[in-house]
Symmetry: C2
Subunit: 428 residues, 2 copies
């Protein structure tokens, strides 16, 4: 029964029950963190053999004859490029292997564009009055922080189960030359877990941007991060862009942060020949080389793309039960209240839930007061402003199953309490 | 006997002898590279045990309780900070440990200043018309490339054995608010190998910049890179700046690139509390953490600052004979011609030589034609323009002793040939 349909006394008794359950949780002195998509210790253990790959008697010469210990080879080593190229379905020449952080590669890509422009720019983005970035929402807070920091006006684009609202994207990109870019997490999106449909990818590839230097920031962070045996699949945007002559429009990013070690993986930027050439002309001022030793360590650990995919099965075995548990606990906890909606994702790192309007902030506050830290409400929107104050991103990866169950049960109680208080206040 | 004092026929016979020696070298089909300060394979071997420090059964929790495999700890781990703090004589709170490249940290520091300003900026450097950078010359080409790329006007400051011409530095920094920064390699300078005197450091610390956001880029790249048992010593600029209230004026940089692995070391940025706070506010948008696993590997390998210093003795044992050989070969090859001057450095990675005016480019060209690649003439000056065309940077570290002897002998012949041809042309 929905709160709206309850009598005042039914509503009050619903609230009182939630409040008393909440007080009970508070008494337990919980101290749990579900705020970020951090791999759990068991996941990190999966990659410990990576540390034995290189030792003091290893051959440190890569396939191309490069001594990985020394300076040089700015764009990365042959074998690591090949694995990423296979995973992303592109040629190794399109790949620049970076350091341990793809966020860093994305920030740097925006910073270069703002300061110097990208291939095809008439002037640096920073010299374009009122430059805008499109932000599918809910989305990834760290993306939005980058474009906010560099002063872009950010425009919300509603996400759907097939991807961003492409009518809106086409209208804005094709019609407005101040629209310079869009953030996309095309597979198992952060936070919804949606994979862009073939049609969406084709429509992206067929954009006719008003800005000659518009770029799609294709953050393929979860390209191999499946939670089910049946994998979702994402059309290769570079293949589609080749057909439309739009290859220069795409910057693709990925990393092994959620494959090997979150803090010591290998990242990658993939782009067209024109883009790579322009990027290198600036990158070679910034750096002589990224850590090729870690690149070699990764390449030898996986062997090839299939080795990497097999490794992901082990992550799945750890993560899938956690996602299932959260889903089941949400279902049981929310019952037929209709107070919470969410997508059950087939991959990625998050479960994105929607409370009734105006209840997300209060829910997160209540959880925190009872010892469970969630991603801040609003974080999934530019400027941290969720216009309806309803979206919350749950991150099931890090806590243990027991903690996760407890935290999710508390979460359900907090949603109910926040919603009941709001309904009571609304009726006054 | 100097060329100037030779008769035409003496000069011709001097030229002919050099030319015939040069042809003989050309016949040998040399293929050597003395262009960059790359550690040689024997130096890289010194750090191979670093690769055994972390393995699949290692404890990966740092002293602060942080799991180095996971995200977080943006400014670096406790034990690595402590070692760098000890080496640089500052407190660990002043340290941000970066990735494998201090060049990257320097580029990023300039990029942030241009885009956002530094602590104390009234506006971003990029919004200041005619912003200037002081460049002690000869200097490090990659420094100059950064400030050239970001559009600074670069002003040459002559180097002396005690450091940059401080009268000129004081006049420009204290008098001109468009002067935003200066590049310094204060110990075993690149390329001269000079260490700034105590007076020079004190005068730097006592600057009264016209720009409220002026910064000294103190690239202490060779702070422990001694070639002699008697070490030169550099005054701690932060200690001096504390006395003058100028702590915010300094960005210090260092790395282990020439201590462990050139391509897979650990870098560091050191700055005042105010600066670190401002930097973190932007760094946390760019990155979640640098590679803490490599930081831990380095900290455990060295144990402490003394362990690091002891490790440098092994480098000295490999490098000192190379520097001695180049020095001896130059002395023997140039004899009493007076055609070449150079400093015999007590540390660092380079020998900076000066040919007669207008002969450096031709010398480098001749060497290249005979199979020996040197750093391009002019590279040690902003815009690659050596106004006198006389400075050449020799990098003795990478080649073997035998190759080094051969390359240096060829170099001497090329200097003589270039100088003789020039003198002949001048007389016409």
């Amino acid at each position: 029964m929905s709160l709206k349909n309850m009598s005042d006394s039914e509503l009050k008794s619903f609230r009182d029950k939630a409040a008393s359950e909440y007080e009970a949780f508070k008494g337990e002195g919980l101290k749990l963190d579900m705020s970020r998509g951090k791999p759990c210790p068991e996941q990190l253990e999966l990659s410990m053999p990576l540390l034995d790959i290189l030792n003091s008697s290893s051959n440190l010469i890569d396939e191309g004859g490069v001594d990985v210990r020394n300076y040089g080879q700015l764009t990365g080593i042959t074998e690591t490029k090949r694995i990423f190229a296979d995973i992303l379905g592109i040629s190794p020449e399109m790949i620049i292997v970076g350091g341990s952080s793809s966020l860093n590669l994305m920030y740097d890509a925006v910073a270069r564009a703002v300061q110097f422009g990208v291939y095809g720019s008439e002037k640096p983005w920073g010299k374009c009055e009122g430059a805008k970035f499109l932000c599918p929402v809910p989305g990834y807070d760290r993306h939005f922080s980058i474009t906010e920091t560099f002063g872009f006006e950010m425009i919300n684009i509603p996400m759907t189960p097939t991807g961003p609202d492409m009518d809106m994207v086409e209208k804005l990109v094709n019609g407005d030359p101040t629209v310079k870019g869009i953030w996309c997490v095309p597979m198992y999106s952060n936070p919804d877990g949606y994979t862009y449909s073939d049609e969406t990818v084709k429509r992206f590839a067929a954009l006719k941007p008003a800005a000659p230097d518009f770029r799609i920031f294709w953050d393929n962070a979860y390209c191999v991060h499946h939670l089910k045996d049946e994998h979702e699949s994402l059309l290769n945007i570079f293949d589609e862009a080749k057909k439309t002559g739009n290859e220069d429009m795409i910057f693709e990013f990925a990393s092994t942060s959620k494959i090997t070690f979150a803090g010591a993986g290998v990242s990658v930027l993939a782009a067209s020949e024109n883009n790579v050439k322009q990027i290198i002309s600036l990158l070679e001022i910034q750096n002589i080389s990224y850590d090729k030793m870690n690149q070699l360590r990764h390449a030898r650990f996986f062997g090839n793309a299939d080795g990497l995919r097999a490794h992901m099965e082990k992550h799945k075995a750890i993560l899938a039960p956690k996602f299932d548990l959260v889903n089941e606990t949400l279902k049981a906890g929310m019952g037929d209240t209709g107070l919470l909606s969410w997508n059950v994702p087939n991959g990625g790192y998050f479960i994105s839930v929607n409370t009734p309007e105006g209840c997300a902030k209060e829910t997160v506050r209540l959880c925190k007061e009872a010892g469970v830290v969630l991603t801040g409400a609003g974080a999934t929107y530019p400027y941290k402003k969720d216009p309806k104050d309803c979206n919350i991103r749950l991150s099931p990866s890090f806590p243990s199953l027991a903690d996760l169950k407890k935290a999710t049960e508390l979460f359900c109680v907090c949603v109910k309490l926040a919603a009941a208080e709001k309904e009571i206040a609304d009726r006054k």
